[in-house]
């Protein structure tokens, strides 16, 4: 499916870097085991989709690639085949300047797979830790060691919920002379008292260990490329996370994956039969005018501040009254979440920790204000 060039926000500039995400839901292992669909259906669906979506954009350099296809359902030949055709349809870049990341569950990461993906051009490993109370330290040590043996530039962790034991585990890793993960990110986790407590402890612990925070759920080591990009105000934020490759357009391949394309957000069907017959991804319901106010949210999440003067000059948006309305009720007594000085709003440490709540509240007020702020009306898609 070639995105029509007349859609607002679409950028086909050949110099603009492109991101590609490959994803399939983890439950597909059970689905394939039960039949009648097999992993071959998924591979052929992916190949069909990547060829369908390449016309007109295949020449853009792919600076960001994220492989999140479940490792257990694809063998080495499948992986090689997908990457082969990806390389034929898209312009895969020089590895050193790009971020090509592959995700493994802790128990799936081994030398053979590490070697294969390294040889296919990947330079970053993401170890995903599913629901568990404590981290398996020996397994984590082994994974980091394997990644180092194969000269991966980055080893990152993704947690599905905050683990209070993570900080202790990282200290143990450090004590054993192991490299610490460059980035630790949290998925969206259910609201609960336990998760809240664990999150507070995790947040404090990670900042004590010297990690910087992007948003409030992505901890990066202070010498990492993402931390440097944050200091230099060169971060980009997409619905697939933060990057320092300048990528804002991401093609999401695979069932259930999402694409962001200028002001467009699209999602593929999650169920395999629907995915295999889909001609194009579905539009993501635009209940929120995020694409209109994306620069506001992006600046807040990336840098924990808002240049109010800039938004007034650039977009004629007077954000201060909206922010005060949105956040005034959220400041607990004696706790300051933000300060405003000389046209710039800065979040305090408490404000960064409460960023999720602040953003949700701000989005609600921005949605209500749509139409009243100049240029903020919803874009017809």
């Amino acid at each position: 499916m070639a995105i029509p060039a007349n859609v607002c926000g679409f950028s086909a500039a050949p110099h603009t870097p492109l991101g590609i995400s490959l994803y399939a839901p983890g439950e597909y292992s059970r689905i394939f085991a039960a039949g009648p669909y097999t992993s071959r259906h998924l591979v052929e669906g992916l190949l069909r989709e990547l060829q369908l979506r390449s016309p007109g954009i295949g020449q853009r350099k792919v600076s960001w690639l994220d492989w999140q296809l479940p490792q257990s359902i694809l063998d080495s030949a499948d992986v090689t085949e997908i990457m082969y055709f990806l390389g034929r349809c898209y312009s895969l870049g020089e590895v050193n300047s790009c971020r090509y990341s592959v995700t493994f569950d802790l128990e799936d990461f081994n030398e053979v797979r590490a070697a294969l993906f390294k040889g296919l051009g990947f330079n970053s490993v993401e170890i995903r830790i599913e629901d568990c109370k404590t981290l398996n330290l020996p397994a984590l040590l082994r994974s980091i060691s394997i990644a180092a043996d194969f000269h991966y530039q980055h080893v990152n962790l993704t947690l599905t919920r905050p683990l209070a034991s993570l900080v202790k585990t990282l200290k143990q890793l450090s004590a054993r002379g192991s490299t610490l993960p460059h980035c630790v990110s949290l998925g969206r986790f259910p609201c609960s008292a336990e998760n809240s407590r664990n999150f507070d402890a995790l947040f404090t612990g990670m900042t004590t260990l010297g990690y910087r925070v992007l948003g409030n759920d992505c901890f990066v080591s202070s010498d990492s490329a993402l931390a440097r990009a944050q200091r230099q105000r060169q971060l980009c934020l997409t619905n697939h996370g933060y990057n320092c490759q300048g990528v804002t357009d991401i093609i999401g391949l695979g069932p259930g994956n999402s694409s962001s394309w200028g002001s467009l957000h699209r999602q593929n069907p999650r169920q395999l039969p629907a995915y295999l017959t889909a001609q194009s991804p579905d539009r993501i319901p635009s209940g929120l005018p995020a694409h209109n106010f994306k620069p506001v949210l992006a600046q807040l999440l990336c840098y924990h501040n808002l240049d109010l003067t800039y938004f007034r000059r650039r977009y004629q948006w007077n954000l201060l009254p909206l922010i005060e309305q949105a956040w005034s009720q959220l400041q607990p007594p004696g706790r300051v979440l933000y300060s405003i000085r000389q046209g710039e709003l800065r979040l305090t440490a408490a404000g960064v920790r409460s960023l999720a709540i602040l953003c949700d509240a701000l989005i609600e007020h921005l949605r209500a204000a749509t139409g009243t702020l100049p240029g903020s009306a919803s874009v017809a898609e």
């Binding site: 090689t80 082969y84 030398e111 053979v112 294969l116 040889g119 043996d149 000269h151």
Partner: protein, 260 residues
């Protein structure tokens, strides 16, 4: 099984890089009759489809020792299956020195280094008289669309090549001389076993110099390691003839994980 003469077409390069006209295709040699078809590309095919693969294969005159199959930088047009003999792949370092990057035995495919950039990034040289089957890649792709098993097998071969290249890099960066030499010997042993040859008695087709170059060791170190293995009764060594006396012990030395 039909047998066809294939008119001379794309030819293999000689050591000066010039193309030569090939001999006519030997009508007695075809994929269906080849003793290596159980490990080469035909393994993935139904017996009725082997002819279709055979039609695209080009078989030229044997390469003599030291003769180039292809040079670095040559446009990528074909991959090659080795029918007999041994071929080494080399690249030239920034300092202008030759670096051995792989050894290819009968039944194995080489030339895949050219796929990514459309030109070969290595050169390939015969270590002894070698016969190869040239498979034009564009025709292989066309045929693969019609024979999914062939495509899948080819990607399987590609993935193994990619994996073993990276494992070698790791081996060279962190393993001892003993581990490296043991890994290479085990690799040759395993590959011989796949060809239904002896896994314990074989001839090393490459020189000590090439082994050292490949493993990042000096010739002297290679010789010392082999002598040490011989004294420890892991091997018997008679010039290029190797007899593995204690396979388990050799695997233990190599940590039995990597393939050179």
């Amino acid at each position: 099984m039909s047998r066809k003469n294939i008119a001379s077409s794309n030819s293999t390069s000689d050591s000066s890089g010039n193309s030569q006209a090939k001999c006519h295709h030997n009508p007695l040699v075809s994929c269906g009759d080849c003793r290596l078809n159980a490990i080469c590309l035909p393994i993935s095919l139904h017996v009725d489809d082997i002819d279709r693969l055979d039609e695209i294969i080009q078989r030229g005159r044997p390469l003599q020792k030291g003769e180039y199959l292809y040079h670095t930088g040559a446009p990528f047009r074909s991959v090659f299956a080795i029918r007999s003999g041994t071929i080494k792949a080399i690249s030239i370092t920034n300092g202008g020195q030759e670096q051995v990057t792989g050894f290819y035995l009968p039944g194995e495919i080489l030339g895949m280094d050219g796929i990514a950039q459309n030109h070969h990034t290595n050169s390939a040289i015969a270590l002894e008289t070698a016969a190869v089957c040239e498979i034009p890649f564009s025709r292989l792709e066309e045929l693969s669309l019609k024979l999914p098993g062939l495509q899948r097998h080819f990607f399987s071969l590609m993935s193994k090549e990619i994996t073993s290249d990276q494992q070698l890099i790791t081996l060279l960066s962190k393993n001892s001389a003993d581990e490296r030499v043991a890994s290479l010997l085990l690799s040759i042993s395993t590959r011989n076993h796949h060809r239904h040859l002896s896994a314990t008695c074989f001839r090393l087709p490459m020189s000590r110099a090439d082994i050292g170059n490949y493993l990042g060791l000096t010739i002297e170190t290679v010789s010392r390691v082999l002598s040490r293995f011989q004294k420890s009764n892991l091997l018997a060594v008679d010039k290029k003839e190797i007899t593995i006396l204690d396979m388990d012990a050799l695997k233990k030395v190599a940590q039995a994980e990597s393939r050179c």
